[in-house]
Subunit: 426 residues, 4 copies
């Protein structure tokens, strides 16, 4: 095993201990010699970095922890660069969640106009990181967690030469909830899944290779825990007619009306809730006796986050050729989508990257929404990378949520204005 | 010139004199010996048929006019069968326009849930006509005007062996309005157009073969008559950013919100307005001295209707190999749509049918909406032809307007119930 | 009608009077004010140019004739540039025909290794012309007749911004022979044709729009004049099984063995025969009393050459929107071929160019050969335009004739060496 | 582990002990309770079956061995059906190898007219087996080794509902020879391979995930053992220009001339050599003290045959989700080939079958030959399954070897006549 340097961009995130814990649990597979933690927020970097340093002391081998405000330092010499930064931090997220509501549109971190604004803020930054990686660590891998993960990964994939895999803990979370519901071991279950990030469907479920979709779908659809398992209490008749299981974020498309009503009725947006949780977590992290991932972190969300991330890095590093659901270029896997779109599908992951399995033709009941959102994402990547306002307007208008190009025009103006200095368009 | 028999299904329509007038004006190209007028409404058939008989007397050659309640009689021996029937007549249209409004959805004859209901009523009937044509006039041509024209044509194309071309007067209307605005002769202008029926875009404008798109688009976008020319006052910034001109029905997608508000504010739905107009027209038609298309018919809409229809029949009959914008199977013309979808594009029309020009890749700003609506149409055709309720639910939920599968479920139930006995699903 | 300047590259060709005659016959459609004749051979330019000058005097309006050795002069200010030059002239053609025979391979001007050598000589020259057109007459049209017409046109299409249409008299010749055989007027017959240049098949025959393929194919296949009509006595059983009619150059693929034997048995290659004919024709051209296209020119081949060329220019100039079989980018017309390959199909020709009709899926019995030759052509264009020897070897080895990559290697070396200084590869 | 019943069709093959040996070595993974050996040759069945019975006694657990002349008995209740039968046995193979030579065409068991004849004999038989499997063991897997493996597998895939995977030992053999040449462990090497059965190319070589293609290709191309490694001394310049490594059977395409000369110069065809070897082996097998796979079997060819077969069965049975190079439906993996063609590529094999990785666009230097042979195979499958003589002629003429459709016609007649009663066409 070679000794690894792991660069973490946005390391002040309260998730970082979860990530480090993932490496701690996989010391037999990955030999880390150095974590380079980068953030632009010195205070959070100190607090979170302090905890990481204490966890690092519990590794079997000596692990160096470096804290830096300089992105290039985190990239230079890294074997893997993990991106989990958030441009504009939680206040920007709060705006992403609140502004669309004023226009009677879903306000959400990744889906819809909120995700659009986040993408427009993030793409220029991820491309700076990509440029640095091309220069300082051209053989390294970028493991992207920054949302909207599919769009951000697509920007890197289309506009740089960096090796990149996008990740999301949603497929693995759904997988585990389903296994739990069916009362089977997670590793015995195979979830045949496809789509885009935060727009995924489950096509089949296999138990030790046996296709159990018919009975399993039926059980899940009729379960009192449907809401928990899939992330939403989707209309049963619709699920039966569709013949596939949608994952949670599809609530914003299949139940736009109800989701919007709920978002509007909440006293605080999610970002505001998270701000409070983060405050508590950061307090906790300052406890000098704490040297492991605290239980409380689970409240923050992101279950199996480290599993998704570190398992993929181990698959690459050890050339495991094992299946992971990741965000990769389509290359022809899903028929009817451009070959360079980033899709979220099972892929064989090894040292040379992630090779997607062929998905082929998707059911007609899925095609329309999938292609519509994909076109929006392609346009958003283009607008973000090229900084063109006209493209940004077409991108936003191409989102299925938009019910008026007039409204979209005003919304775009407000998003740009509220996101200064992060969104610069010509 | 061979002598032609023209079957007209839904001949009680007040449009029929317009159609007959089209033949009257083209006697040098098409030699009609017999019109077989079929309708299920004896009263309207008598009134409209009476006028047709009087117009027929003004033809240079003797033309026989037959009125019948029997569809098979209109099909048997026909060279061209023109379909312009309306299942459930105007009261059904009124329901199509009103029911969706109760769910805060566009209520429109062809676009959205209203068009969906109309399709579900119409597909079984058009397939009965197709069956009769297969049996009694297998070499004849079905010229379909019945709305939603693309979906209805697709049903015939996919589920029968009948020669079919779908038509709509919208492209020719837009073409003529643009020529008028630009101050050029209609025949000197070429409108490079593509899309689905009632979902079309203008890609380029050529004047005597010269590409004048840049200046012409600019002029149209900034014209005070934009509303008249394209059928809606689309957002200028959006049109500029898009780089194509949308046609009128796209208002329901690009301005869903505003269109819905307008529809809800109207005291009467369009069907109700039309009922009154039709009453007046039918009164007029009863004037025994009237033997030509009355001026008043223009109020009813349908400008250039006969031009679109009879010109295409003449192109077929005389093997003209000339370009018409028609509804035909894609066969690969538009990249990214199934090969058997019905699309609306320029095609070379001659005796062996309509051969579409290659459109190729469509601009990314169009792709999402085009593919989304196309998937909805494919599903609606399937649901209508196969009579499956689950497919109907998935089809309706696949329409971009639908904001809740729960609401869609209830809406579908109401549409089915309100459309008895026309919609029969298992 | 605007006044036109026609540039002719390779105007010393004995075909030039035929071309000028085409303009003479179409004075009502095309108003030529100037022919600029360019050739590198002063003697031929003087002789042929002299005859052209005398024919020019017979035009209704005054027509200027300019003779020049300078290609740029022929391009500058031209509305149409017609290319019919031959790099290395007939001696090079003789080598193209003879060298492959030494390797037991078809030696032919356009098909196989001979055509490959011709392409490799011609591509650098046509690209020089294209560069000049981009600079001096960016709105003009290049009408290419230089063989191998498909490959040469593809080079211009892929490696320049010039408006180009490739032409060949083979489809129109076959069309006319078939009409003659069937005893019908040529203009009443529609030949549904597709393929690559010199690799075309007839899918259907329509008489005044009626599909007469079944009986017409049968008549042609069984005709004693099969050889004359299609250009070869193809195996009848094979033609029946195939269900399409091949055009003449397919003899080299469907009857490689027999064609090779015949070529080897001929005392002179075609180039040598043509050299003799040309000598006679040039003598004739010097007759100062001759002021029209001489009858004898027909021996030279190239029937309907001017019809194909001038009719297409008239369709462009007059924005006729009429169907011609031309060489244009695929853009999706033929499924299974790259979108930027040049194909030979019916296209609607007008001022903005040639828009191909959709061909769609080709019969499986054609697919293999069509795709194989197309890949060879794509590679040859790349090798010729980029001047890469390795690509040239792969291109030549990709030709279906090649039965040994070892032999191909030696053959390539000989072709390069025999074609100095025309073929320069790295 | 469930107890397995393995049906072997064509069990009289001298390869059977090799297959049984594969199961013997993998007792920890596959628990066989019964081998059902079926052959139509009682003598060979007795001899080979006798040895199998003796080997079976060396298994840790009791294994039943059943010998039968009845195919349905071997299929009924089987968990895996392995097909390795040979219609017409070695004398038919000898004809396949000899008849084409009379026409100056490659005479080979799987490639060219010989393989075509074998396919035409075999398809009707494999479809009988498939019909029996549909009836008696619808959940079982057909592991096909019968050549031409791709075509035979495609027939089952297109014309039945049977679960089928086609196998060939060629990829694994090449893989192992390359590992040996590079001096690396076979399991550390990943061979990125694609194509059709007996028409495969190596795109990349990865050592523990590192791309070593550049240096490894160079080493192999320049190795004195090139002939041994790839199966032929391909032209070095060509290999370098191509940028991929061809596998052995490509000698018949890249070196048709040389291969034909060699085949014609051999005193005996391979079938005749094998007949003699088989005689010796069968003698050896009758030794009642022999209870293991004899060393001598290696002479017969088929190295790693059991590895390829039994490893795949183990991957299915144990739902291993591991990569194997197998013959599976394209489904979109290789761009430019029909989705239902059988291709030979790495696929993730588990209980639900083999899911191919996306290959995407193939290099242009490969496309032509790959598509050409694929079209021939598609047509051969159609001809064999539908029994149509016209299709058979088009299929044979679509093979790149054929240089005359006249000759092909005569060759087809002779192949049909020589293969009575096995080939029945209308």
């Amino acid at each position: 095993m070679r000794d690894l340097t792991i660069g973490v961009i946005g390391a002040g995130s309260t998730y970082s201990p979860e990530l480090i814990d993932g490496f701690l649990k996989r010391q037999d597979q990955l030999s880390v010699k150095r974590f380079v933690l980068m953030d632009i927020d010195q205070t959070k970097l100190d607090i979170v970095g302090g905890l990481v340093e204490r966890i690092a002391l519990t590794f079997d081998k000596k692990v160096e922890v470096i804290k830096t405000l300089n992105m290039e330092e985190a990239v230079d010499g890294a074997d893997y660069v993990v991106t989990q930064f958030r441009v504009g931090r939680l206040p920007a997220r709060a705006r992403d969640e609140k502004i669309p509501l004023k226009y009677d549109l879903i306000g959400q971190e990744t889906t819809g106009p909120g995700g659009f604004a986040k993408a427009m803020r993030t793409i220029p930054e991820i491309l700076k990181i990509a440029r640095a990686m091309e220069k300082y660590s051209p053989k390294s891998w970028l493991i992207n967690f920054t949302n909207p993960s599919g769009i951000v990964t697509e920007a890197v994939s289309k506009y740089s030469d960096v090796n990149v895999i996008g990740l999301c803990n949603q497929p693995i979370t759904t997988h585990n909830y389903i296994a739990e519901e069916l009362g089977v071991a997670s590793e015995d279950l195979y979830m045949d899944y496809f789509g885009l990030n935060h727009l995924g469907w489950i096509k089949r479920l296999l138990l030790n290779g046996e296709d159990i979709s018919a009975e399993a779908f039926d059980k899940i659809i009729n379960s009192p825990r449907l809401d928990h398992i899939l992330g939403y209490h989707f209309t049963k008749d619709f699920l039966k007619a569709l013949g596939l299981l949608p994952t949670g974020y599809l609530q914003y498309y299949y139940h736009t009306e109800e989701s919007l009503a709920k978002l509007k009725s909440q006293p605080q947006c999610r970002a505001e809730v998270v701000m409070k949780i983060e405050e508590d977590i950061l307090k906790l992290y300052q406890d000098p006796s704490l040297n492991k991932k605290p239980k409380m972190l689970e409240k923050r969300g992101g279950a199996w986050y480290s599993d998704a991330a570190v398992a993929v890095m181990s698959a690459i590093e050890n050339d495991k050729q094992e299946l992971h659901i990741v965000n990769v270029p389509n290359t022809g896997a899903i028929e009817g989508l451009p070959k360079d779109s980033i899709i979220e599908v099972p892929a064989v992951v090894g040292k040379s990257g992630a090779a997607p399995l062929v998905v082929g033709e998707v059911p007609l009941g899925i095609t329309g929404l999938l292609q519509h959102v994909n076109a929006y994402e392609n346009l958003t990547v283009k607008a973000g990378a090229e900084g063109c306002k006209a493209t940004a307007l077409v991108a936003l208008c191409s989102h299925p949520f938009i019910k008026s190009t007039d409204v979209a025009k005003r919304l775009l103006d407000e998003l740009i204005s509220a996101n200064q200095p992060y969104i610069q368009l010509r």
